[in-house]
Amino acid sequence: MTAARATGARGGAHTHAGRGGAHADAGRGASHTDAGPAEGLRARHVTRTADGRVILDGVTLSPAPGTTVGLLGPNGSGKSTLLRLLSGVLAPASGVVTLDGRPLAALGRRDIARRVAVVEQQADTQAEMSVLEVVRLGRTPHRRAWSPPSGADEEAVREALARTGLADRAHQSWHTLSGGERQRVQIARALAQEPRELLLDEPTNHLDIQHQLDLLALVASLPVTSVVALHDLNLAAMFCDRLLVLREGRTVACGTPGDVLTEDLIAGVYGVRAAVTRDADGRPHVRFLGTLGRPAPQESADARPE
């Protein structure tokens, strides 16, 4: 736990070094390969290319059990791709994603789905389904063809509904739900899978601020390891234990929100001027001041070789 806790390269120091974070991760990666079979879901130096373009370049992520890790970075920085590699929907071109030390490629889809659940940005269906029916989909990897749901199945569904505050909505139609309620149902469905790892891809994107706070508070309170891609830096600072910042597929920084979210990093990654203050418990608070107009000089020298 403590080893994994101490994972990240200290964010601020690597703000200007495109590969800095990745190298720091590489050095640290060797130190806890002996973490044993309970090490959970990890990505080691994963790279992914599409049509000859590098989308993800040597990224390492090893969340400590039970923590919430935020993935930050501009559009196209590789957050979604990293999540898809972690869920095994995509395979890395190089590097490896392991679940308790075993590569995902060596596991069946069913075995992965019993451990790792995914909540997409915006899920929708044309099928006429009740909340209960959607949540029951989460039992798919636990059930066999032809067999009726077991007591354990019904219990998991009931608990997932209760934890997400949807118990009295079970028979409502999916199509009558608001965006926030739908995401809540998707989280309930994911919990019904009884995962130990939960991956969320910008789950708050289409929600109003109240539902954004609600949803992330729920995710942070869950007894699972969560990896969540986010756009909002302040929400990330509020709810995540650790942050991993990507830019153009590379790790730029990794560490606690306090270490990572600095004015320099925000300028370097997002091209935005910001003032960062800290509240009483050390959580950073970001106030945006305007765009930089163009990337900072040292930035373009380092990360844009042209």
Binding site: R84, S87, G88, V89, G108, R109, R110, D111, I112, A113, R114, V116, A117, V118, E120, A123, D124, T125, Q126, A127, E128, M129, S130, E133, V134, L137, G138, T140, P141, R143, A145, W146, H171, Q172, S173, H175, T176, Q193
Partner: protein
């Protein structure tokens, strides 16, 4: 949203189907009663003698019974194929013919009938079946080359459909005389006339296998509700499942189309009607769609062969003429129920 249990529904549907078949057989120029139908069936299954004249016995056993049974099998099969295609491809407009199977079958049949391919050794059904498989193979190959997502499967199917329709028209217009054209057209629109027991046996066997495969994948199909990535993260091997189900439904469609022509509308609409009845869980949807399709086509075929008696209307024409208003009504009521 409480729904009736699946077993009572299926039992009621099965009873309705048996009654429909028995009653539909009695309708027609020769006067036959429901009791006669039972005794003929019993006598042919080895329980005593029917007591009917050989001619009337023949009308029931050799003409009307196989035709009515094939109608039921076609209705059930097309409805199940449609339901599976719509869920698998996440497209409410998908039907059993979306993979180009029917167009391929038509081309195969036309090549045999008009051009005399096979020298009389290949029957129309066999030609149609070969054409259907060829077309389906082309669609699989094309969609795989394009990247294999559901959209590309649908697009490949549309492309194959256009190609084989054009080939069919080309062959008919350049090589057929007026009489052959009429016969071919009748077949293309779907016809259950002249059905023999061989057709029934083949189609029933294929239906049984395909239905078992689809029912075994009922829960997997449920998992496709939120798309194929969502299905994958629920533990479904998407590529394998899609291949198995596409092959099962394509083979079933090919067998049905080879025997009865391309009967439209059933596969598109009956699944939607069944969903309105029992929701979208496939363990309930598939059997209910099968029974609804069977009952529907039994009655539509009865209408098709009697309404302009002695002339027969292609059953595919009647399915659409009756089905469209019913469909609009179902959609309207579903919308209001929400």
């Amino acid at each position: 949203m409480t729904r009736p249990g699946v077993w009572p529904l299926c039992a009621a549907g099965a009873a309705l189907l048996v009654a429909s078949v028995a009653v539909a057989i009695t309708i027609g120029p020769a006067d036959i009663r429901v009791g006669d139908v039972w005794s003929v069936v019993a006598s042919h299954l080895g329980w005593g003698s029917s007591g009917l004249s050989p001619v009337r016995d023949g009308i029931v056993w050799e003409l009307r019974l196989p035709r009515t049974l094939l109608a039921a099998v076609c209705g059930a099969g097309l409805a199940v194929c449609g339901a599976v295609m719509q869920s698998l491809l996440r497209n409410p407009l998908a039907d059993p013919f979306v993979l180009g199977v029917s167009s391929g079958a038509s081309t195969g049949a036309v090549v045999v009938v008009v051009l005399g391919a096979g020298g009389g050794l290949v029957s129309v059904s066999a030609g149609a079946f070969l054409g259907a498989l060829l077309s389906f193979g082309l669609v699989l190959l094309l969609s795989h080359t394009l990247g294999g997502t559901t959209d590309q499967v649908v697009l490949s199917g549309v492309a194959a459909m256009q190609l084989f329709s054009a080939l069919t028209s080309f062959v008919v217009l350049t090589a057929a005389d007026a009489e052959t054209t009429r016969g071919v057209l009748f077949w293309l629109l779907g016809s259950l006339g002249g059905t023999g027991w061989t057709d029934v046996r083949i189609c029933l066997a294929v239906l049984a296998v395909a239905l078992a495969v689809c029912l075994a994948h009922a829960r997997t199909l449920d998992a496709f509700a939120f798309g194929q990535d969502a299905a994958a993260t629920l533990g479904v091997s998407v590529a394998r499942t899609r291949l198995v189900l596409l092959c099962a439904t394509a083979l079933l469609t090919a067998a049905l189309v080879s025997s009865a022509g391309a009967i439209g509308f059933v596969g598109l609409v009956l699944p939607h009607a069944a969903r309105a009845l029992v929701g979208s869980g496939h363990a309930r949807l598939l059997p209910v769609a099968a029974l609804a399709g069977a009952v529907f086509l039994v009655w539509v075929d009865t209408l098709a062969r009697t309404v302009l008696d002695p002339q027969e209307v292609p059953v595919g024409v009647v399915t659409s003429l009756i089905g469209v208003p019913v469909f609009v009504l179902v959609l309207y009521r579903t919308r209001r129920a929400r």
